[in-house]
Symmetry: D2
Subunit: 93 residues, 4 copies
């Protein structure tokens, strides 16, 4: 059980849509579609992945991190550090 | 025929791998994997999509844009503008 | 008093270095330096700004957000939402 | 003489405004402004730097790269590669 479990169906729906976008990209390349149109679709898929990540992160902060910080101690610090590292990876990816 | 046509198989291989990453994300969510591990995989998929986009863009500059600028005229300007807009979408996504 | 107050001198030092990078960019443009070299410096300044933001955000989570979540209630939820929105702006900028 | 020379004054104006934003950030930190407000300003400065970079890049493509590709040969390929690398640094920063 994690923070995102109660919104699992939403997340799966989002991810299936992103999978569809990536399959759409394959179709575009197979049919020799114009590069710029392919790039536009890549940007859309990227944004969709980021929105999914941001939703997941918000739930993680609201559940896992909030529970740890409510208890305090080194576990709380570790959770903050772990979340910050994940945020840094997202910002830089 | 576009700039990327001769590397079509490479691009399709990359995109199938990205599709696999997105399906892997669905499995992780279904199995209630830890949020941070899911986020790490999202960052990896995002980077893979960007690498694909950058490879496509380089080919587009080397072929479509280079051909247009070799001829010059308003068509060349339009191609430069179009490529710049696609780059801006990538940078901001 | 905020989370970052005890590392204020570090932050100011970082920001003065970034100011120096932006002034360096002005000098490069004034001296007609090669576009690609200017762009390399822009990427460096961007990364420095992001590192500053990520350090600030980590402190914010460790202090302001952790205090609010330790108390719980609607104030905690509001802090999580506010931090998530700031993360989204960083990821998308 | 580079592609951006005729818009030099515009670029310098933009960069001076960004310098002002970074100095504003220092003032905010000195006056212990709220972390989230500081982060909002960082996102604004980041976006301003990126817009500057994108404007510069468009000019670079329209001038330096277009001239090289009009001549063709290994010099043209080198310019395309160099521009693509700069775009990759921007996308990833």
């Amino acid at each position: 059980m994690h923070g995102y479990t109660d919104r699992k169906q939403d997340h799966l729906k989002r991810l299936r849509r992103i999978e569809g976008q990536v399959r759409g990209l394959q179709r575009m390349v197979e049919e020799d579609k114009y590069c710029i149109d392919v790039l536009t679709q890549v940007s859309a898929a990227n944004r969709a992945l980021q929105s999914f990540a941001l939703a997941l992160l918000e739930e993680h902060l609201a559940h896992c991190v909030a529970e740890a910080t409510a208890k305090g101690g080194p576990e709380a610090d570790a959770k903050i550090k772990e979340a910050s590292d994940a945020i840094a990876r997202l910002v830089r990816s």
